[in-house]
């Protein structure tokens, strides 16, 4: 029988950077990102999988980091909100720009999850209709906006990205 692990050195690619970190099996990805790697853009919400505030992209797929063990992310590519846009050049991703200009942000707490989820959608489907957008974001709860401006922001960004790619 195999030996049980109680500590492992894991390797992840986070926002394009190679990171190596030793983790215990009981550490959640959310806490490793926030506490140990200082990436506090990913938010702590309900911690039960209902609100989506902790959403990150793992190998391109929206995933709840509050219900993911860090140890299971060995070898995976992770994108957090800090990896969207270029902080050093102070350049916003078209999604971020659209959210700012079209009032997709109020308190901002759901915004990292909304942007990452929208990015995953547009990477797969550059021309989503309103229904497809609403379906894609229905795992992230927003208490402020009523979602209308969020949908408009995503539609605007989608259009801009399509035009940039022509």
């Amino acid at each position: 029988m195999m030996e049980a692990t109680n500590k492992k050195m894991i390797h992840m690619v986070i926002n394009g950077q190679d990171r190596e970190i030793e983790v215990h099996p009981n550490e959640l990805l959310l806490d490793v990102l926030r506490e140990r790697l200082g990436l506090t853009g990913t938010k702590i919400g309900c911690e039960a999988g209902d609100c989506g505030a902790c959403t990150v992209l793992i190998d391109g797929k929206p995933t709840l980091s509050c219900l993911t063990l860090a140890i299971e992310c060995h070898g995976k590519e992770i994108l957090t909100i800090e990896g969207v846009g270029d902080a050093e050049k102070a350049e916003l991703h078209p999604l971020q720009k659209a959210f700012v200009e079209h009032y997709g942000v109020q308190c901002g707490f759901c915004t990292p999850a909304m942007i990452l989820t929208a990015k995953a959608l547009l990477d797969k489907n550059p021309n989503p209709n309103e229904n497809e957008i609403r379906e894609a974001i229905n795992g992230v709860i927003c208490r402020c906006t009523g979602y209308v401006q969020i949908v408009e922001s995503i539609q605007t960004a989608a259009k801009e990205l399509r035009e940039a790619n022509e």
Binding site: M1, N6, N26, D31, E47, L64, G139
Partner: protein, 297 residues
């Protein structure tokens, strides 16, 4: 369970296994028995651990078992237990041949939950509302279980023993099989819920076979209205062998709720659930018939 639920941010410590083959997992299950729990998608198990509802000494993670991720049509539908709900939703063979399974994958949780959750995990959780179990039971689904004593295949109807309980005996579910049928099948599934991430208030799946305007065979399965998913057999009896008419379907709707024992909880009241059972059963019969028609039968 009291409200508000007491949740602890930090999980208790546990030993961790992540074998890459089922054969390596079996001796672990055999030796540790109920000291070890299996981790698939984690969308429910980690929640339970935070609530301290379960406190396993060891977790056996299936994340390396790529051999359990597949959906293929081969004299029936074969689904690897680790197949994600998203993969079910995106599978062409599921959407075309087993639309009730596609419906269940669509109704299931949120996009994030669908990316993480697995068909096997949903079945083994044995929740009274298990979304994937409902249509699978209406398709006479079978489960392949592997353990220290060997391999066995059982009907999905015999798997759950009650809320959160099942017949797994140091075993791991490896495959879900939907047997091939000779005649065409109309299938549909619906889930009533409050919000996207919610469990069902009531869910219902129907599979129907029609020959010369008579219902040759039918399955009506209900979720979230008893301590486990079950077939409303008395309601099925009303329709089996009869000509398909609105009157018969109306009678089926009345019978379907008689066999259910819904409770009042935070999601819904027993009374509302009772009312909805008949309505959903009828709707799913009509949807299944419509799907048969669309395929030219």
């Amino acid at each position: 369970m009291k409200f508000p639920r007491e949740m602890t941010r930090v999980l208790k410590e546990f030993g961790y296994f992540d074998p890459s083959k089922v054969d390596d997992a079996v001796p672990i299950l055999g030796e540790l028995g109920n000291r070890v729990m299996i981790l698939a998608g984690g969308t429910d198990l980690l929640n339970q651990m935070k609530l301290r509802q379960v406190n396993p000494e060891f977790l056996l993670s299936l994340m390396n078992m790529k051999e359990l991720e597949y959906v293929r049509y081969d004299k029936g539908l074969k689904i690897g237990a680790l197949t994600s709900i998203t993969a079910m939703k995106e599978s062409e063979v599921v959407r075309e041949r087993y639309p009730s399974l596609f419906d269940a994958a669509e109704w299931f949780g949120t996009p994030q939950i669908r990316n993480m959750a697995t068909v096997g995990g949903n079945i083994c959780r044995s929740s009274p509302s298990s979304d994937m179990v409902v249509p699978l039971m209406a398709l006479d689904g079978m489960l392949r279980l592997v353990g220290p004593k060997g391999v066995r295949t059982i009907q999905i109807e015999t798997f759950a023993a009650g809320s959160g309980e099942n017949v797994l005996d140091r075993e791991i579910l490896t495959e879900i099989i939907v047997p091939k049928r000779k005649e065409p099948l109309g299938t549909a599934f619906v889930k009533l819920k409050r919000s996207s991430a919610d469990l069902a208030k009531v869910s219902c799946a129907v599979s129907i076979m029609v020959k010369d305007t008579r219902c040759e065979d039918i399955r009506i399965v209900l979720g979230a209205v008893a301590d486990k998913v079950f077939r409303a057999k008395a309601a099925e009896e009303v329709m089996r062998g009869e000509k398909v008419t609105d009157e018969v379907i109306e009678e089926v709707g009345k019978r379907a709720s008689l066999e259910a024992h819904p409770i009042t909880d935070v999601r819904s009241t027993a009374g509302y659930r009772m009312q909805m059972i008949g309505i959903l059963a009828k709707r799913m019969i009509y949807s299944s018939l419509e799907r048969l028609r669309q395929r030219g039968h």
